[in-house]
């Protein structure tokens, strides 16, 4: 009975879909996403020019492409966010099987674009990286399995989803794409954590990882050198990292000014992995802090909204998607300021990339759908917090 009472989106009689959507959508997060995309376009004017020049295209070619794909992404996002969670779950699980199959078929049908890792399908006018699409639907699948495990007589969803995780991560590592594999593991762990992972397992895993790290540091010279190099305060100024740090410093608080930046001409990945360095150089610390604040706002707001969610599936899926988005952003930013060891990862919505934009649109669409306002028996919360049971 309780499920029926508060599980569904409140329908005012005769209300239109769009009006209901506008009333219940998280307008803060939606606004932040629009701002992020706008910032991405603005930075694209700066960062993608050298790439266009290298490829013999007109200077703003990639900006127009980004705008086109961004438009598509927003259509996808809005479309998905208007669905019911029920529908999203159904489509997500179906989509999972398609995306998983696409990832698994990569070794046969994929192409590596001469970059040494088979991650893409070439569609002629664009390329698609199926792992980008796999991540969000995998999270939906995981959340569904874990939520069902909490139901009476439910299946052992946690074990099944763990098995699925192992398979997916194995295929991602085969490409090889350790960045996506790591993100998938992080997001799955977050879902498991919120789904009620026992403290014993959590401490055990943390201890094991810590011990393994110490062991590797003491026994593997290669590993130790990587860590020492990362920890040492000196950066070789001729590495990507050195240039990125240099650019951030050059920009100072207010930046060198539009199109005055140099780093985008040096770094091959200025329009993707190191776009924050371009932002810092041309627009200064203010722009960087703005971007960082937007990401922090989106992740914190989504997670807090999910706190009051009664439905286990929505809670878990929302958590996983938020963590996916936030940790990808965090890793991208952390690498550029040398908080984390070098690992290529795009900045969601800001970095250039067609299929990644659409995948992000799908991800945020699901997230917006899950964070829509639903009645959550707030009265009960008030009573509980006052000690009535």
């Amino acid at each position: 009975m309780t499920e029926i009472a508060h599980g569904a989106v409140v329908v005012l009689p005769g209300e239109a879909i769009v009006s209901r959507w506008w009333r219940t959508i998280d307008k803060g997060v939606l606004g932040a996403l629009v701002l992020l995309f706008a910032v991405g376009l603005l930075l694209g004017f700066a960062a993608s020019v050298p790439l266009a020049e290298r490829n013999g295209l007109q200077p703003f070619h990639y900006v127009y492409r980004q705008a086109f794909f961004g438009g598509l992404a927003f259509v996808v996002m809005l479309g998905i966010s208007m669905m019911s969670p029920h529908m999203v779950r159904r489509l997500g699980v179906i989509g999972f099987f398609f995306a998983a199959a696409a990832v698994m078929l990569l070794p046969v049908l994929g192409t590596d674009f001469g970059k040494g890792a088979v991650r893409w399908y070439s569609l002629g006018f664009a390329s698609v990286q199926p792992s980008e699409f796999l991540k969000p639907v995998f999270i939906v699948m995981t959340a569904w399995l874990m939520a069902s495990a909490a139901e009476p007589n439910g299946p052992p969803g946690k074990s099944i989803s763990f098995a699925v995780l192992v398979v997916i991560v194995a295929f991602l590592a085969l490409q090889p794409d350790f960045g996506q594999a790591m993100l998938t593991i992080v997001a799955w762990s977050a879902v498991y954590f919120v789904a009620g992972a026992p403290i014993a397992i959590l401490t055990g895993v943390v201890a094991c990882v810590g011990l393994a790290g110490v062991f590797a540091y003491q026994n593997s010279e290669h590993f130790a050198r990587r860590i020492d190099g990362f920890l040492s305060p000196d950066v070789d100024p001729r590495t990507q990292m050195g240039y990125a740090i240099d650019a951030i410093r050059e920009g100072g608080f207010f930046g060198t000014g539009v199109n005055e930046g140099r780093v985008k001409w040096i770094l091959p990945d200025a329009h993707t992995d190191f776009i924050i360095a371009v932002a810092a150089e041309e627009y200064g610390l203010l722009m960087v802090l703005f971007i960082v604040t937007l990401f922090a706002f989106i992740s914190a707001r989504c997670l807090i909204r999910l706190c009051h969610e009664r439905d286990t599936f929505i809670r878990l899926a929302g958590t996983g998607l938020t963590v996916l988005l936030a940790s990808q952003a965090f890793i991208n930013l952390g690498v550029a300021v040398r908080l984390l060891p070098a690992k290529g990862m795009t900045l969601p919505f800001v970095s250039y990339g067609g299929s990644s934009l659409i995948a992000m649109g799908a991800l945020t669409g699901m997230l917006l759908c899950f964070t829509r306002t639903r009645p959550q028996a707030e009265i009960g919360d008030h009573l509980l917090s006052n000690g009535y049971r």
Partner: protein, 600 residues
């Protein structure tokens, strides 16, 4: 059913068929297992969600702060990343010996670097550089100069002639940086004391010099402290004495076919190290890379005098004898049973020669009887022996000002059974560095007060340290050691006019596979001069010496370490300003007692 748009039931979960499951009769307990209270679960999830949110907010805040820190930092050329803050201090004080003679100093040097974006003609620049510096390849540097990079170091130190030649190229993109270069004008002399230096942080205006080992590393901050205005660091080492010691030690090591040698000359009263040598050595101007294979103990970088811990053999016997006297268990003339072999469990202790059934304490030392020493040690007992050796500094690393010293912890047995008491009394089963031995000899024999070894010159009078033995016992021990030279195992040690006293020690080298080699020894001589009122302690140690002398292959200290030590004393005693004393009365026991009374 969680989300319901129509009243019609929809099967959303493939694991739960719509048709109710009928429990099979033989499985009557297939009901829903107890699940957690959903409200409890939700509260836990809420806590964990808040935790996750806090983690992300914290993470993004750290990213923002780091960004701010980088933005606020000063750009420098070359931009060496996170090195923010104060400028580089390139000044570094000299290091001198005790007389003020220079052991380490700086000279001005010039570094060459390139800024390709300032270049008029990068190709011509690369060709010109290749003419001046034959090791620079035209192709490589042409490619680098045209790659769009803005900065390259070309050469660390170039000569004035080379600098002029680069000037003459007339290329504005080739620039010179000023820096200081650490120079050790005496080459390998005292290399293990000085250690060496390298460049730390560097930019085009200056380069920081950092000590990597020895006193350069220990006093790194002190030497580069601008507040001291370049006042030199004065060591206790004496350059001329160090030269003599190293020369004699090197030729002695060759003569005795040893693979390594170490020598220490220490002021017996103050603990100042006048000379410290370890062979093989190296040139600190061109410090070799640490050995990656083989025994690190055989590397030229290894300081045998400080880092090497060895079983030092019979040089330890004087500690047992002195303690026995100090405790009043014996006096110098007490007869000790030396009938061997002595059995202890399954161990047997025997002497090099059979010295007959009984020897006086003095003769136990003079003839170096293991059995006699072990008997004295048994009377002393493990606890008192341990405490005595600890008071002499054998349980801790030496506090000398070298980076290597804290790592050289003596190897002492964890349990201390009677057999350990016996073997340690004659220097087996406890490993210590030659510096430990020199410190202990100085403490025991200077009148009985503990000294602290140091490499810094001490100008002010040194307060005597804690008392180890009484002046009387110290004098008796000195007299015994003197007799070891006049009529015992160190007879080759006699240096006319400088009454040397001391003790030999020959220890079989432990083999890495367990047990001991029977053809590899470490021979040590530890002594004092002049014996009646010691000014200096000398320790000489040879690794795997062997010499064919008097008709047979000799590996004992009396034939190897002693002649080397005696030659060192013969050379350095005049340099140290000691007056030779040829008066035969100087050797009488009365002279020792007078000294003991004076130091009381």
């Amino acid at each position: 059913m969680i989300f319901r748009r129509k009243p019609k039931p929809v099967a959303t979960d493939p694991f739960q068929p719509v048709t109710p499951r009928v429990p099979r009769p033989r499985d009557p307990v297939a009901v829903a297992p107890p699940r957690e209270n959903p409200e409890k679960m939700r509260l836990r999830a809420e806590r964990r969600l808040k935790f996750t949110a806090a983690c992300f907010v914290f993470g993004f805040a750290v990213v923002g702060l780091k960004m701010g820190a980088i933005s606020a930092s000063e750009a420098r050329e070359p931009r060496t990343g996170g090195l923010a803050g104060a400028g580089i201090v390139s000044a570094r004080a000299d290091i001198t010996d005790r007389e003020g003679r220079v052991l380490a100093t700086n000279v001005t040097a010039t570094a060459l670097y390139a800024q390709p974006h300032l270049m008029v003609d990068p190709v011509a620049a690369a060709e010109g550089l290749a003419r001046i510096f034959p090791d620079m390849k035209v192709d490589t540097w042409t490619r680098r100069f045209t790659s769009g990079s803005k900065f390259y170091w070309l050469k660390g130190n170039i000569s004035p002639e080379q600098q002029q030649a680069v000037h003459d190229l007339g290329e504005p993109g080739l620039l010179f940086g000023q820096r200081e270069m650490r120079v050790y004008p005496n080459g390998p002399l005292a290399s293990h004391v000085l250690g060496g230096a390298r460049y730390g942080a560097q930019d085009v205006r200056a380069a920081e010099i950092k000590g990597v080992a020895g006193v350069e590393a220990v006093f790194n901050d002190y030497l580069s402290d601008p507040a001291r205005e370049g006042a030199p660091l004065r060591l206790s080492v004496d350059l001329s004495v160090q030269t003599a010691v190293e020369r004699v030690l090197a030729s002695g090591m060759g003569l005795m076919n040893a693979k390594g040698a170490a020598a220490i000359l220490m002021d017996a009263k103050t603990g100042e190290i006048v000379s410290l040598a370890s062979l093989p050595d190296f040139d600190p101007n061109d410090r070799p890379a640490p050995a990656t294979e083989g025994d690190p103990g055989d590397s030229p970088l290894f300081n045998r005098a400080v880092q090497g811990v060895y079983e030092l053999g019979s040089t330890f016997k004087i500690f047992a004898a002195a303690q026995s006297l100090e405790l009043g268990l014996t006096n110098a003339g007490t007869m000790i049973d030396t009938q061997g072999p002595m059995r202890q469990g399954r161990h047997r202790i025997r002497d090099f020669h059979d010295y007959g059934p009984r020897l006086s304490v003095t003769d136990v030392i003079v003839k170096s009887s293991n059995v006699g020493t072990a008997r004295m040690a048994l009377d002393i007992g493990a606890a008192r022996q341990k405490a005595f050796l600890e008071s002499l500094g054998f349980f801790a690393p030496t506090p000398v000002e070298l980076t290597e010293a804290p790592g050289a912890r003596p190897i002492v047995p964890t349990r201390w059974p009677e057999i350990s008491t016996m073997t340690i009394s004659y220097g087996h089963g406890l490993s210590a560095s030659p510096l430990h031995l020199a410190t202990a000899y100085a403490s025991l024999l200077n009148g009985g007060t503990r000294v602290t070894p140091t490499l810094l010159a001490r100008d002010d009078a040194v307060e005597p340290g804690a008392r180890v033995v009484s002046p009387r016992v110290s004098a008796e021990a000195r007299h015994m050691l003197r007799q070891v030279v006049t009529r015992g195992t160190a007879s080759l040690m006699e240096v006319e006019g400088y009454q040397v006293g001391g003790k030999t020690g020959t220890a079989d080298k432990p083999s890495p596979t367990g047990g001991y080699y029977d053809d590899k020894t470490i021979t040590t001589f530890a002594g004092i001069f002049p014996a009646q009122d010691p000014e200096y302690v000398i320790v000489v140690s040879l690794d795997e010496p062997s010499i064919f002398a008097a008709g047979e292959e000799r590996r004992t200290a009396g034939w190897t370490a002693v002649p080397v030590a005696s030659e060192i004393v013969r050379r350095v005693a005049p340099l140290l300003g000691l007056r030779p004393d040829f008066d035969p009365r100087a050797d009488s026991f009365g002279a020792y007692l007078t000294q003991a009374a004076a130091s009381r």
